[in-house]
Amino acid sequence: MITLNRLTRRYGQKKVVDGLTFEIQSGKVTGFLGPNGAGKSTTLRMVLGLDKPTSGTALVKGKHFAELNHPLREVGALLDAKAAHPSRSARNHLLALARGNSIPATRVNQVLDIVGLHDVQHKRAGSFSLGMGQRLGIAAALLGDPGIVIFDEPVNGLDPDGVRWVRELMRSLAAEGRTVFVSSHLMSEMQLTADHLIIIGRGRLLADAPIGDVIARNSLTTVVVRSPDSAKLHEALLRHGINVAPVNTGELHISGTSAEQVGDLAHEVGARVHTLNTQSASLEQAYVNLTAHSLEYGALQ
């Protein structure tokens, strides 16, 4: 479990991370979303004790990262796929990390098998493609069989097979009861893997909720009606204080209501209806709505 309490990081006057408070639960994949420069990586680095918070705390299992007795056995993290010495072999890269945490060399073989780098383990990390680098980073994260895994953009550079593999990996890690915290800019990816979402913009928390709630709450479901009597219906809707956006002749997009209510109302006023359906927003839309709001808010300041 990861706990942030009013975590803040300032660079000069700029607050890159601004009072973040949230908890990452175990047994779930928690997605960490935000536009570029929102403070995701800085937050992750503070959780891992690499960067110092200006104020507030980031705790792992109730402890500061530096107080963990066997860090790799408690937290595994992939921050940067290229973070290996280019002339060191993949195996030796993992071996050095393993020895630092009293992890036996047999485990290095295991993780090399898990990520599919067994055959290239003696090759220099510098000769690896970005995708292989990601796999090496994931191998390092799994080395200590940790209860908490943190991945920063894990699918970057992976081919479709690799993407599917990472997705399944994250799901199975969570199913084993581990805490999985994944940052990504790929909303579609999060929609497929995450159970819970933390969204930040300009260092501030925008949302912390189950993925379904985030979508429901931040993007009103739209009812789409096509009617030759749209003017009549439009008027009736306005009378009921319902928000309507006429798209083009005969088509209305209505938010803040249900298809049932719109259908009943059309019946009441005698408007013919040719199409009546609801469009539920994707995570992408929910995310755009949320972060656009944060940017507006920022600009107004």
């Binding site: 066997h70 860090p71 290229k82």
Partner: protein, 264 residues
């Protein structure tokens, strides 16, 4: 396809990450990159070649009237020749020590290192201990190669006194070991290879060339040279190595402060 995450079967060790695990990790990293072997090899080549050339140069100068007037000696201690080559060899040592630190920052591997063991004090000590010990041991071999090459090149003009030779070998090893640790300190403070190399060059060589008068003997390069050559004009022999050690401690202190305070 489901992904099976094999679990780590070995139980957690009773002891937490400690100095021993930090040393094991650093050692594995140290021996698993080619640059370690290349810079070690070049140190040996520089020492053998440098001593041989300096020795032959001394012999050659014996037939030059002007040179004889400058230095009337017809014999020279082999240790002095090896000591002078050390001024060149030390840059291979600097390169080796520098890469132990700067490669971690340039690749971002430092973040892996600190995730495995977030204790930064321990990291600095482990890195310093390994490079210092390795350089001391290779320094002894370098010293031996240096005096052997000098002896060969001097062609009968070398003074071979077992006590002096032994002292010279240990002096070379001690000096190089301190230089390597000094470099670790500078690299930890500056993080970039270029900045580290230029600062170390400045400390070891630049100050020696730019400064005038007695103060020059308090620069690490000159103090080390006085120590190796047993030049006691300005201070005793042990004082020479103490000066180098003080410089080393100062740079390690600077490296420690930066490592502790700055984000990784």
């Amino acid at each position: 396809m489901t992904t099976a995450i094999n679990t780590l079967s070995s139980p957690l060790p009773k002891t937490s990450v400690n100095f021993k695990t930090a040393l094991a990790s650093e050692w594995t990293k140290f021996v698993s990159v080619r640059s370690t072997w290349w810079s070690t090899l070049s140190a040996f080549a520089l020492m053998a070649g440098g001593s041989l050339i300096l020795a032959m140069d001394f012999v050659g100068d014996l037939s030059e009237p002007q040179s004889v007037q400058d230095d009337p000696r017809t014999q020279i201690a082999v240790g002095e020749i090896a000591g002078d080559s050390t001024q060149l060899v030390q840059f291979a040592t600097v390169a080796l020590a520098m890469m132990v630190v700067t490669s971690e920052y340039s690749t971002g591997a430092i973040r892996n290192t600190l995730q495995a063991d977030p204790n930064r004090t321990r990291l600095l000590i482990a890195k310093t201990a390994i490079i210092g010990a390795v350089t001391f041991i290779s320094g002894i071999l370098l010293g031996l190669i240096g005096i052997l090459a000098a002896q060969a090149g001097l062609d009968g003009h070398g003074i071979w006194n077992t006590t002096d030779v032994t002292q010279a070998v240990f002096a070379i090893a001690t000096y190089l070991s301190l230089v390597s640790m000094m470099t670790v300190g500078i690299a930890m403070a500056l993080r970039s290879a270029v900045a580290t190399l230029s600062t170390t060059l400045m400390l070891l060589l630049g100050m020696m060339m730019l400064l005038n008068g007695e103060i020059v003997h308090y620069t690490p390069g000159m103090a080390g040279s006085n120590f190796i050559r047993d030049n006691t004009t300005y201070y005793s022999r042990p004082a020479g190595i103490v000066i180098v050690a003080v410089w080393t401690l100062v740079t390690l202190g600077a490296g420690y402060v930066v490592l502790k305070k700055r984000d990784a």
